[in-house]
Each structure stands twice: as C-alpha cells, then as structure tokens.
Subunit: 150 residues, 2 copies
Amino acid sequence: MRGMIGEVEEILRAHDYKMTPKREHVLCVLLENKKRHLSAEEVYNLVKQRVPDVGLATVYRTLELFSNFDIIRSTDFGDGRKRYEFGTGSNDGHRHHHLICVECGKIIEMNEDLLEDLEERVTSAYDFTISDHELKIFGKCRDCMGQKNK
Amino acid sequence: MRGMIGEVEEILRAHDYKMTPKREHVLCVLLENKKRHLSAEEVYNLVKQRVPDVGLATVYRTLELFSNFDIIRSTDFGDGRKRYEFGTGSNDGHRHHHLICVECGKIIEMNEDLLEDLEERVTSAYDFTISDHELKIFGKCRDCMGQKNK
DNA sequence: GTTCGTGCAAAGCGTTTGCACTCTG
DNA sequence: CAGAGTGCAAACGCTTTGCACGAAC
C-alpha cells in the first residue's frame, strides 16, 4: 500500500502536481475503504479524523485531481451524489460492475468480462469505438430477499 | 399517439391523478422527441412554446409523476442532470441501453438482450434478484472517429 | 519570492418545496 | 366549496469557485 502511494505520487509528479500530506490522507482513506463506495463528504469526515484542519473543498479538489488521472473513478449510484472508488488500473479498470440493492442500498462488486462479445457486436454494428462502459444492476440482495420471504 | 395519451390517462386515473392539459403537453413533448433525451429544462422550454404560462416546477412535478408510474424513465448520462425518455412499457422497458459519444455527446440507442445470460449468472452466483439494469457504453461515434482520422 | 496548495465562505446549478392562487367538479 | 393542480420564489443539497493566507522549492 505504501507502493500504491508512491505510484500515485509518480503519476502526479509526471503532471506537475505534488503529493502533499493532505492528498496522501485522501488517498489512504480511499485505499483503506476499497470495499466501500465513499461519497466526498464521507471521505472528508474520515480524513478530518486524522487531519482536523482539512477543508471540504480540498477533498473535492483532490478527488477531482485523482479522477482526472484515472486513479479513482466516480459513479452515481442513484442517490444524487458521486461516490468514489479505485479504478483497478487504467488498462482494465473499466471492466468493473455493480449490483445495487434497491432495498438496503448495499453495493456488491462484480468483475465480469461477459460484456466482451457485446462490445464486439456494438463496435461492428454501430461503428462505435468503445472506451469504457458502466453496468449497474438493480435488484435485491440475498439478505433483503430473505426478509421479504419470512 | 392519441392512444398513448389515453393510455397514460388511464394509468393516472387509476392512481387518482388527472390528465390535465399541462401534463398532456409534457407528455406530447416527450412523445414527439422520443429520439432525444430531454432534460427537464429542455422539456420545459418546449412546453413553454405551446403553453407560455407553464412553470418549471410543474414540469418537474409532472416528470416525477410519470416516472413513478414507469411511464418515463430518467437517466443521468454524466452531465449532472436527469434526462427523460419513455420506458418502452413496464415489462420489457429495462432492456434498453445507450452508447454515449464522449466527443460530441450524441446518444445512440441500442436494444440488446445479450445481457440475459449475464443476468442468469449473476442471479445464481450472487443470490441477487435482478429487477432492472442499466448499461452505458462510452466511446466515440462514427462521425467523431472520422474527424480524428482526417 | 514565485508558485502551488489550502480553508473558508460564497456562489452555482439542477431540483424540490411552501404557499397562495386557480381551476375543476 | 373542497381538493387537486399550478406559478412563483425561496430553499435545498451537492459541488465548484474566488480570494487571501500559507507552505514548499
């Protein structure tokens, strides 16, 4: 994980940005919460626990910065706010989908390359050069289905 | 298309809502622009051309109303505002996906049931009961690719 | 000593809501 | 005249921005 920070530092430096302590904290919070899909405010609160004098604007600016370099990716799961997570690398980062439970809001991650043949079809049928795709599946998770049946 | 209005009127009436003239105009605008994906404000402007005394709030309320009954569906294509289009019926309305050109913003519609076997896999692998899904594919359309190559 | 990063507060923007008016039945 | 529908303007929630201060090279 130290390595990850160095890696990001490289990317930033390559674009004339610095890895400041606050940016590092934002990164750490994201790294330590890989499983969750934090909103900007949630990131802010977690960073604030370690660095009380951080500002919300800085968090937004940092998230924006990381987004621009595909270090993280933002998605709106339907609650009107952006949520951030690591892009799992800029090459294969786009094959990454979510199951969203409409009952409890849980988000289950799903890595699935089944869309590859769909991609091929689309490319030829529509003359469309795909750079990324995003699949959200809505429904009910096991737990919430269980409750329904009791 | 007259039939469509009657149909919607039925749905509304069944839930104790009325098909007022303004709601009808909103519906008409949506019907006449099926191919486009209008934002609330765009709908508002188009309705205003016919009924100058309409309010933006009414448009929002109407769109919300139609959404609730799955008459229309809203999607965010990444520009931070909701865009509305007809759900093609409440049964099969969810098999409806989009190609979004990141260059010119064009949205190409794509009806594709290739995700069905993916659905089956997900259902069994994750114990997840799917009610809907949404697939957005980002890339460059033919026109924009052409420009790039010239 | 520039330049970049930052905190704070204000502004922005799409959307929602409170309230009073209006229209319909 | 009761109740739903509506216009207007204010409020809202998330995000962005302007500005002045502060840190780093």
